[in-house]
Subunit: 762 residues, 2 copies
Amino acid sequence: MRNLFDIHDWKIVETSFDPKKQMQAESIFSIGNGSFGQRANFEERYSGESLQGSYVGGVYYPDKTRVGWWKNGYPEYFAKVLNACNWIGIDIEIQGESVDLNHATVLSFYRELDMQSSTLSRKVTLRLKSGKELEINSIRFCSMHRNEIAAISYSVKPLNFSGNVKFTPYLDNNVSNDDANYDEFFWEEESQKAGNKKAFVCSKTKKTNFHVATAMRISFWKEKELQEIHPNFATKSLYAENSFETYLEIGTTYTLKKYVAVASTLNHSEFSLVTHAINQVKSAYLTGFDDLLEEHKVAWSNIWENADIQIDGDVAAQQGIRFNIFHLYQTYTGTNEKLNIGPKGFTGEKYGGATYWDTEAYCLPFYLKTADPKIARQLLIYRYNQLDKAIENAEKLGFVNGAALYPMVTMNGEECHNEWEITFEEIHRNGAIAFAIYNYVRHTGDHEYLKDYGRPVLNAIARFWFQRFNWSKAKQAYVMLGVTGPNEYENNVNNNWYTNYIAKWCLSYALEVEESWAKKDKALLSNQELFQWKEMLDKIYFPKLEGTNIFLQQDGFLDKELLNASDIPDAQRPINQHWSWDRILRSVFIKQADVLQGIYLFEDHFDLDVIRDNFDFYEPKTVHESSLSPCVHAIIAAKIGNLDKAYEMYLRTARLDLDDYNHEADEGLHITSMAGTWMSMVEGLAGVRVYEDHVLIDPKIPATWKSYSFKIRFRNNPIQVTVNQEGYVLENFGNDSITYTYKGKKIELCANQTSNSLQLIV
Amino acid sequence: MRNLFDIHDWKIVETSFDPKKQMQAESIFSIGNGSFGQRANFEERYSGESLQGSYVGGVYYPDKTRVGWWKNGYPEYFAKVLNACNWIGIDIEIQGESVDLNHATVLSFYRELDMQSSTLSRKVTLRLKSGKELEINSIRFCSMHRNEIAAISYSVKPLNFSGNVKFTPYLDNNVSNDDANYDEFFWEEESQKAGNKKAFVCSKTKKTNFHVATAMRISFWKEKELQEIHPNFATKSLYAENSFETYLEIGTTYTLKKYVAVASTLNHSEFSLVTHAINQVKSAYLTGFDDLLEEHKVAWSNIWENADIQIDGDVAAQQGIRFNIFHLYQTYTGTNEKLNIGPKGFTGEKYGGATYWDTEAYCLPFYLKTADPKIARQLLIYRYNQLDKAIENAEKLGFVNGAALYPMVTMNGEECHNEWEITFEEIHRNGAIAFAIYNYVRHTGDHEYLKDYGRPVLNAIARFWFQRFNWSKAKQAYVMLGVTGPNEYENNVNNNWYTNYIAKWCLSYALEVEESWAKKDKALLSNQELFQWKEMLDKIYFPKLEGTNIFLQQDGFLDKELLNASDIPDAQRPINQHWSWDRILRSVFIKQADVLQGIYLFEDHFDLDVIRDNFDFYEPKTVHESSLSPCVHAIIAAKIGNLDKAYEMYLRTARLDLDDYNHEADEGLHITSMAGTWMSMVEGLAGVRVYEDHVLIDPKIPATWKSYSFKIRFRNNPIQVTVNQEGYVLENFGNDSITYTYKGKKIELCANQTSNSLQLIV
């Protein structure tokens, strides 16, 4: 695989302009701050192929569902992430000639995303049709310190002429979603105004009535000297601009600084919104670009302090893992309980919605180990707040008594997805949400959370599972019919092992939590419910390959032709692009870990032999056509000592978007699967596990690396793990003494202590 | 159930005007002649709720597929039956006031569909806002004798005034489909002209480029006296009219006769089309209304001669059965091998396409027994002509070597449907097409057909089945995974008993036919194929309930909660309107006969005990939410001696549309299921079976009926069966002596012979 951009440990760098790469680059060089984000579109007009994209967290539009054949229970709408006001725009015109990289001769081009500071910069020299040459230098960022602020410094230097240049910084909310089912326009005008070196546009979404106010302030500089300018200002519907023409001297740099605030009624009242945005941008303007940038860098350095992984000896791997960590924190910072982690973050629109089971299954472990526990807690609170909607959702499907089914895709808690085999049947997602609560508690020890917020969610999920099983007279067991497991290359199967397993675990964990808290707090379940659940637990059916350790993915799995993925001709891979859907369904091939997903989550329930046998049975049948698959395989492969396979699986995900393996980075990045890459490193290569009372490590290192190092949180203590070819070192930066185990040996690590010297890897 | 319209043995009669019933009436009073057809819209403008619908057989538009989530293998388009040129239009205006039943006071109203003569007539008296009263008398028909001709006689009588009245007979192809996925307009202008008492509109369909020419001629009469008129003529895009104003005397009847030809490039070259239509309409005009009507009646009387069922003692049942027979012959007459039987015929647009497996499974037996064998043969030729497309269709799904999968829905042989669990998985339709060939041969003895046309189709279908089974190591048998059986309330199941059974039968029948013809004609299959198929036959897996006679609908069926339909609360019926799709799928409830469909087709393969046990097991679990279900149950119930159940099931279908049980007659009628009603009578109550060398009868009669009588064809000999409470009489109107059996007794019935006297029913 050829690298798409230059390799660098902290940066993504593009050193020549290729319009064919522009859409990919726009996604890959995206910046965001967890509250809003922006594709790496150019500030000046660009008439080439581009997806102009500005996205504001939590603001959505209920796009009318597109469906071929309606099924009862389908939702009426699909919540779409909204492409919002373009706030980066700065048009440049020189004596009637627009600066547009699509029509100019690009003499040199350099674009850089600095992941350490989250700044996007660009240096271009170009020649216009008129022969005029100029240099553009721009740098921008979405402030991680002030989550409603962005700033741009945009410099122009005439290289071979002196003359008048017109600058038009603007705000433009005349923006359509690329992803809209019926090409509807989602925005309505609310108000806009332009004044002297300032402007705002306030628009609202149709139907959902979210108001978004975008405000700007500008200043203009000749080299380091502030210039007095007298811009014209103009507005039209959903648009506001300043424009001014000024004489530029050859060889001199002129800089437009544009300060922007983006605020919405997700966090503010309609009444105060515009004022708030104006005040925010004024404060940013008064702070000034350099100081804003400085505080932004400090905020990012705090993130990296905890979340960075350093790899020595492999710059491509180093760049890859940082790219993933970087985009996760651009997308979600845990500061707002109304937000979640959209599949494309702020880098594109596809798939709509903000919340999939990816959040709990992949992203939560990342935040649990790399940040203050309150960030992970927000993700749990998000689901807690949507419990009522999950109960309504289950009621629509005929469930009663407060049973909850969390949606497959959502923005506000309501189901958005409409594909019966997924919407109604891929119900294992409910299990991931329960497991997230368990996982949070074992990382943080926050049992109070469990009492007040965890229990209602666990109980409602357990009620769902209790009703979803039915008694099979034939099997004399409880069975679960008509489900789709994590492996979406099987639909509407009976007794998916993973779903049955996690359902049983949910019932059992809910019982355990309830019984433990019912004594100390008020009981939330009736005795009858407790009794019925317990009665069910022992009688749940699990398909097995008799006489072996193999758990069968579902009933009838062995009736398939038992081929391996290596039997598929290369020309037919990926099968989802070459085979008809029924052929995929009939085949034995697995899209993503299914039984192995269960073994990953409940590793401690199984002997190593069982884990190895199931891995050896399923891994060869898995085509990994979901970006969420390889990480689970990497972790289990490492666990069973297959380092080569673990490393192979790690490599499959680490640079997925950066090198655009799947030729779809133009639409946006695979944000949630980035957490999977991180998992393959920390849980896979380094073998980290977190238990109620200790951390386990079992580090391995690829032969080509010198060393790697990262921090994890355990009970809010940052523990640094460093691994090289000989051994590992643990350092406890926390205030509590902690216990870790290595190869069965328990080791105490006091507060602020290093595990002395290098511990040899045995 | 309240009757929607008056009960009459040969007529559907509406005696008062109810705008709320207009849409239903438009469907129910539809007329057609197998080539084109027309909903019972009013000739004069009507501004009330209405679906104006004129449909031309075989002319379709490839409407862009609407899909929620694209799956590989889905077709790009869905062929839509086209709403075509409105040829009935006659506007009436009296001194600026339009005649429109929606704005007038209707003083009396009488609408009649005479099924014997296939004429739609109407007599209305009305008062306009101006106080003027008039009487309208209209009668129209689509000629069964000249299949491109229709005629209207439209009379106006002023009741309380004399004065000028303006008549505007027109042709209008500015018509949109009610059923269009993206509200596209499907027609393009080709040419139009209006002349003295004549006009035509020729339009063409976008993309498919079908040309349809509609031509008219008019004459005007005062009482019985032809009037000289001098109409103005005008055209605009897709529209042509004549208009003339004339003085009408109080109490005198004035009649506009409108002759229409409808021709298309399905049957004519683009070059000659308009001329052909003009010539046709001229010839009709010269023949005159009365003679056209007369020849039309004769053609219908020939149909009724063979197809009628007379029921004495139950007028509602009599009307119901005739209504079904009537609409089947309006839809399909077998004169054109390019046509087939659309689910709504010419009565509406819903579902698009023309051809479903309904044709072979339900309609073919009807035509085989009620008409010359060449009519049924056309239906087989239709599929023979589309074999190449069926092979392409199978190739898209990964099948090779000339395997064919006929489409779920089609117009031209290409698949139109896009719902993976149906399109790719409801493959039993392939079996119905093979069975139709077998059924045709046993009714007609046309083995020559088998040699030249049947064999290639049978072999291609058998090749599909051979590849669609796979060897299960676990079961040591061939299994078929991922199918949807006739019961569409189960999706993507393994080893659907019906599908496995009909697939095995196809292989076996194809082998038998091939081996018999290979000696006399050239061999079409390799020895290897013959060998492999034979090897497979003995090793096909069938799910069974061990220790009983019950064939299991599919693997895992017994894991369901084994409830009966009677356990469902009334308020939750039909379940397809009350339950979410997954709940329906998980439930045991059966939409339409599945195992019983197989038992129906292959009745002779099973002992009566087996049939009874399976009926008793499945019938209580069946909710009959397909109009194609009760007929199969009626036939089997009769077979096992459960006359009450047979009659109950017969009643469920007989007046389905006539009384609009399902509140959907406004969209059009259930044409194909009408054949099912006929089957419940002839194969159910009368117990008729046709074998290679004899006919079996086993007549029963409901207690409330005096007698019933019908004809069936056997080897092209019309055999009349008359049944009353004591016994039955058979009459052979054919030229060959035939054998029939009754209760195991073989009886010879010579040419032109009656079974003498009444045979007692034992």
